[in-house]
């Protein structure tokens, strides 16, 4: 069983069968990270370029560790600004990288659609590690993996995503990914943070956090970016935390088996109380652990793998 396309661009372009394949493969990969010698030879001789146009610690480290555990040669390139500023277009940069024959390019970029542009240009497989406000498919896959691990299923679950939906690629990908796998998704934020036509993606909308929490099996809190104040998205951090933050009092209204997620980095005390982030319902660090497994699975599958890596 293989993936149909060479690239992992967004959750729309993955079928449910492919998502199941990725999650199953990731479950197998997870065990490798628990061994004393955390390395298998599966991708020996493959080159993985981690091309990050936006700062990232977690995602880049996760991909880097994933590549190294599969014995691929990985290298990181950072760029603070678009290469256009330096006088070279992105396409030219891509063509230069391509000339060095990499097998996989992992790209993060502040502009939506850059992975699509590179995927069209390059023979290497392109994995989207986050593009603008558009998509973050590897985050969604690790979210799916973590929820499935804890609940045994995705089908029929209720996911609430609370925070700045308008600017969140995680929210977009999670809406598409979780609804595709049979969950119901509700988004919650002040109207300034709900983008036009979000229901067309399959989410229902509420502006009251109590409604979002009520009956949710999984609650995903999103980071509130303080600079959005300047764009008039909210009044004050204090008021945001009061009306849209997840605190202990609110959590008491949630289901007894609720799971709390956060894609990080967190603003403790703003969108999420520390007691909750560190509490028994939190699966925030499981997300990080599974991130490595999911990225190992994706690197393996886009490199053309047909067997489970741990049989190698």
């Amino acid at each position: 069983m293989q993936l149909r396309q060479k690239d992992i661009l967004d959750m729309d372009s993955l079928s449910t069968v492919e998502i199941e394949l990725i999650l199953d493969t990731a479950a197998g990969m997870k065990e490798i990270s628990l061994r004393p010698i955390k390395k298998v030879p599966t991708l020996r001789g493959k080159t993985v370029i981690l091309f990050f146009y936006e700062p990232s610690t977690r995602t880049r480290t996760s991909f880097d560790i994933a590549a190294k555990r599969l014995s691929a040669d990985s290298l990181s390139i950072s760029a603070k600004t678009s290469s256009l500023v330096k006088g070279e277009t992105l396409i030219d940069t891509a063509r230069n990288l391509e000339a060095m024959n990499p097998d996989i390019l992992v790209i993060r970029h502040s502009s939506a659609g850059v992975p699509h542009l590179l995927g069209r240009t390059m023979a290497a497989s392109v994995i989207n590690a986050g593009d603008g406000m558009h998509a973050h498919p590897t985050q969604t896959l690790l979210d799916l993996m973590t929820v499935k691990e804890k609940k045994g299923r995705i089908q029929g679950l209720r996911l609430a995503i609370i925070g700045d939906i308008a600017h969140s690629r995680v929210a977009r990908s999670d809406i598409v990914g979780f609804t595709k796998m049979g969950a119901e998704v509700t988004v919650c934020a002040p109207p300034t943070m709900i983008p036009a036509g979000i229901n067309a993606l399959g989410a229902s909308v509420t502006h009251r956090i109590e409604e979002a929490i009520d009956g949710a099996d999984v609650i995903m809190m999103l980071r509130i970016q303080l600079e959005r104040q300047k764009d008039y998205l909210f009044s004050t951090v204090r008021e945001y935390a009061k009306y849209f933050g997840l605190n202990v009092r609110r959590l008491q209204k949630a289901r007894d088996d609720v799971l709390i997620m956060h894609p990080g980095p967190m603003n403790r005390g703003v969108e999420i109380a520390s007691e909750i982030a560190d509490g028994p319902y939190s699966i925030i660090l499981d997300q990080v652990t599974n991130g490595v497994a999911v990225r190992m699975a994706l690197l393996y599958l886009v490199a053309g793998g047909v067997r489970h890596a741990d049989s190698d």
Binding site: S82, S111, A112, G197
Partner: protein
């Protein structure tokens, strides 16, 4: 020089739509007569068989970016005029956002000199409303008009100050110049790069709401009413703008409006997987907007079809969607795309001629028509000659259009300016 155009069907609402022979002598339409009458073919220097063709008053594209001076790698006055001629246009109005900006008589004269040297389509420059289009000081409209300018516009940049727009309209009306407004409220457009809505949300692209356009349309209509200055709204893209213009016309406000072929042909879904050839300003809108634009064309609310021909080099468009410049070329596909509306029964051929020739002429104070004694600025169209849009065939220096590969129902087969054949 005597040219006989034989047996074409004349499309000019002022004339009956009959087939006729047209005799052009020394650049002027000398005689329109029944087919075959007259019989002194031998005395003509050239006989053009126009059987099955439409003979239209020379088409005018009143919204074109010729890019010279400053951006000659995108387009030159010569290449742009060649593209115009190939697309059936006898005249174009070039917008002032060149480098330097056309805000003085010297630059207007430079453009006209270059156009004359090119010797194809006529060029009628539009000058800036404000110096450098910076929205601070008025340009010298009197001097500019004397140099050959037909209108003023800060196209590409809205006039943010209501006070400046008011004064520009008052001052321009004194010199008999219409004001063309690029209607955009910048703080509402924000960092948007496509139409706001479900598609932009799905693609993760910041959106531009319809309101960013219509709120400025409403302001400028109010200023036109206040000042009495003829106002022409450029590139209308939203249903709210169409409604506002329709209502203003009913009240007798001297407002006219144009839209571009892409707004009556494509919707936001043309953005597809981040196709920068579907990025323009204003953006491609929703299906509901497209419907309102088509209705506005049919009922006369929208007076003009103009292309907003905006050449860009491939290297500029082959970039991140949000970094790509706005606009597409349009001169060579406009007739074909408009004929699609005719074929669908939305527009009559007479309306097509009004929107692509007679109305622009009226708004800009030019003369057009198929009548005896008028200059022989004519466009011959074969409404049945299907063709496929190919990048390699463009006369424009640029290739940025989403219509490559489209099959269009007809095309201009001959373009004549003052009795000279510049295409065909």
């Amino acid at each position: 020089m005597r040219i006989l155009i034989k047996g074409g069907k004349i499309v000019d609402p002022a004339v009956s739509e009959a087939e006729a022979d047209l005799l052009v002598v020394d650049g002027v339409i000398r005689e329109i007569r029944p087919v075959g009458a007259g019989g002194e073919q031998a005395a003509c220097d050239r006989v053009i068989d126009a059987a099955g063709k439409l003979v239209m008053p020379g088409l005018i594209d009143m919204h074109v970016h010729l890019r010279e001076p400053g951006f000659e790698y995108k387009e030159t006055i010569e290449s742009g005029c060649a593209a115009a001629a190939a697309g059936g246009f006898t005249a174009v109005c070039c917008m002032p956002n060149t480098d330097p900006v056309n805000d003085c008589p010297e630059l207007t004269e430079f453009i006209l000199k270059k156009a004359q040297a090119a010797g194809t389509a006529r060029v009628h420059p539009v000058a800036a409303i404000s110096r450098l289009s910076e929205g601070k000081r008025l340009c010298e409209y009197g001097e500019l008009k004397a140099a050959g300018v037909v209108a003023v516009s800060d196209d590409g940049r809205p006039v943010e100050s209501g006070r400046l727009m008011r004064r520009a309209m008052e001052y321009a009306s004194g010199f008999g110049l219409p004001v063309i407004s690029h209607c955009e409220e910048l703080s509402l457009a924000g960092d948007g790069v496509m139409n706001e809505g479900a598609y932009a949300t799905k693609m993760g692209l910041p959106g531009i709401p319809n309101t960013a356009e219509s709120v400025m349309v409403l302001r400028d209509i109010a200023l036109s009413e206040l000042t009495g200055c003829p106002l022409h709204i450029a590139h209308v893209s939203t249903k709210e703008s169409v409604a506002a213009i329709r209502e203003a016309k009913k009240r007798g406000v001297p407002v006219t409006a144009e839209t571009a072929p892409h707004y009556f042909t494509l919707t936001e879904e043309a953005v597809g997987q981040y196709d920068t050839h579907a990025k323009m300003n204003p953006p491609l809108r929703s299906a509901g907007d497209l419907e309102a634009i088509v209705e506005g064309l049919a009922d006369g609310t929208i007076d003009v079809i103009a292309t907003d021909h905006a050449p860009h080099a491939p290297v500029e468009k082959e970039v991140e969607f949000d970094h790509a410049p706005n606009g597409i070329i349009g001169l060579e596909t406009s007739v074909g795309l408009t004929l699609r509306l005719v074929r669908k029964g939305v527009l009559t051929l007479g309306q097509m001629v009004e929107k692509m020739s007679l109305n622009p002429a009226r708004i800009l104070g030019l003369t057009r028509g198929v009548s005896e004694g008028l200059p022989a600025d004519l466009t011959l169209i074969d409404p049945e000659q299907e063709w496929t849009v190919e990048a390699a065939a463009f006369r424009s220096l640029s290739r940025n259009t989403p219509f490559i590969g489209w099959t269009l129902p007809g095309k201009a087969v001959l373009t004549m300016v003052g009795g000279r054949i510049i295409h065909g």
